[in-house]
Symmetry: C2
Subunit: 358 residues, 2 copies
């Protein structure tokens, strides 16, 4: 078993990564403080993994909430289902919520834990590649609003993250591809060697080779843990983790949450960011071509949604969380493996970058 | 102008107390960091004080949200109105929310600020006695759930609290009385001298004598600031601020939020806590009589709601936030001016304490 640590002083926690971890006794239990737990999962994951998880929790008073699957349900109304269950079963401040699912389940469970009785513990058991390499680590939690993605939430760190790499076996291909977008992101923003490794090994990942997957997951988590440890609440450097996300969130919000998978939107968003970086002379056109090639090999779309105009992109991007006093800020690339956050953005260049993805 | 400080290291903030503070230029502005503000108020307070507040904010981009007045609206649905406005007007992470109203407005605005884009600044301008002496200070924010009061929320400290004691002039008598419950609370839990002062001066408070009111507000805030500074997130001593609240919340939840004012429910809750303290031999029956006398002089009810059975009380009390691993914990009195938190509670004694208030 590989154990990484997210180093955040008194809020530090381990990330456990291995095959078959969901079947290991005693691992989860040591991160549960009280006598109560509440598993939050969705109707896709529950039939697959709920029973094995429950089997480790027999000594606890255990509630279960099964949410409908999908980004379309990541909102305050669905969140309230978790509070309903917690109160109906009289969970107190020592309870632990356990998120068993992908990014939507993890983000909502984390926010429910942040807000229930003004804060209780929670544990992340991510079941998609995307949530394993990104959303389960770092404490960003929240829900969407019709006018903006992840606009309502909290920074709330889990007690631990438990990553069973075997769950990728049941993951639909489309979600595997979406997860690879965030994996590629780490190479682009801070890890050239990993980018080179991905160019060599992406085919192994696409056929779910367990050794390659375990390596990619661990390296992604290590990269993320390092950035989060430097800047927990995104006062600065952490923003680089949002490469492609300002463009991507615009697509997700405009198309309706769930129409595009988050990873699909981030994939093309990274291409747009790369195009814009080249327009600013930060990277070469050869770099852009190389980035597009890797994203294409991950079966991710390279063309923006039909009919989504420049104005629609710009309107959604104007409410991005990185906007400061009306000025758009974006994550761009100074080279492959080195991201930068800048507000020196010409709208005309953004439009050119969008045009390159039509 | 009196200035108290809530001493919380990098989260420290001032409480300004004086007559006419809403008309003072330059006080509020220095606690606003960005160019955007959003005033949240209700339909009772807006006609009275919104214009004067807006007049200080002409240099900012200023949005306004007017919520329906009353505890019945302190829920996730109404909270979403604030997010709607913030996103429609493209408020970014440097925005400042301003709560202009009583405890409901303050609690909801504070929670909206805690959750919007995972946390923005806010300012409290409390317009009821209760919110001036209690809910605006200390960073407890949140909304109610049908199954429990204040069950969804966050600890989120304001940038400052601005208390204009003149607003009490427009406060309905019933709300003045409700506020006095929390004022009396401070005497009971930690400030015998203040309790003695209240016995001498409560009639001045009831006729809204400005000097007496200013003194009571400042002393209450000073007592609260001291407790909060010791224990921001209620790991221990802060729980004494909940004297009477476990009983009171049961009444508010059972009767429907808003049927009893929070202060009214806390008033009789403190009587119940006093009765239980006497049953445990902590205080004398003379002390109980003295406490009841002061609460009665504040025109607060001394009789529990008709038809609210012991079982209903106990069921609601079982989801109280102080409950730990199934054991009820209550704030009781060891003497007038000294509270204690204990889980040594016999249900039979709770029933006797309730019976004393039938």
């Amino acid at each position: 078993m590989h154990t990484l640590t997210v180093d955040l002083a008194e809020r530090s926690y381990p990330i456990y990564i291995d095959t078959g971890l969901l079947s290991v006794d005693g691992l989860l239990e040591k991160h549960i403080q009280g006598r109560q737990v509440c598993i939050v999962t969705n109707d896709t994951i529950a039939p697959l993994y709920l029973e094995v998880l429950q089997s480790h929790l027999r000594e606890f008073s255990c509630s279960t909430v099964v949410l409908p699957d999908g980004e379309a349900h990541k909102n305050l109304d669905t969140l309230n289902n978790i509070f309903d269950e917690l109160l109906a079963d009289r969970h107190n401040r020592t309870t632990t919520l356990i998120a068993l699912g992908g990014g939507v389940v993890g983000d909502m469970t984390g926010f429910a834990a942040a807000a229930y009785q003004r804060g209780v513990n929670f544990i992340q058991i991510p079941t998609t590649l995307l949530s394993q390499v990104d959303s389960s680590v770092g404490g960003k939690t929240g829900v969407n609003h019709p006018l903006g993605k992840n606009m309502i939430g909290a920074f709330h760190q889990p007690q631990c993250v438990l990553i069973d790499t075997d769950v990728i076996n049941t993951l639909p291909e489309k979600e595997l591809f979406a997860g690879l977008a965030e994996v590629i992101k780490y190479g682009l923003i801070c890890d050239l060697d990993f980018f080179l490794w991905l160019e060599e090994n992406i085919d192994d990942l696409l056929r779910k080779d367990p050794i390659a997957l375990a390596y990619a997951i661990e390296r992604s988590c290590a990269d993320k843990a390092k950035v989060v440890a430097e800047d927990e609440r995104e006062g600065g450097i952490r923003a680089i983790l949002n490469l492609g996300h300002t463009f991507g969130h615009a697509i997700e919000t405009e198309q309706g949450y769930g129409a595009w998978l988050h990873g699909e939107a981030v994939g093309i968003g990274m291409v747009m960011a790369a195009e814009l970086s080249a327009l600013q002379g930060r990277i070469s056109l050869e770099d852009v071509a190389r980035i597009k090639r890797l994203i294409e090999r991950a079966h991710l779309p390279l063309v923006a949604p039909n009919g989504m105009s420049d104005d629609k992109f710009l309107a959604h991007m104007a409410v991005d969380k990185k906007v400061l006093d009306g000025r758009l800020r974006l994550v761009l690339l100074d080279e492959i493996g080195k991201a930068v956050v800048t507000s020196e953005i010409e709208v005309s260049d953004v439009k050119k970058a969008l045009a390159a993805c039509r």
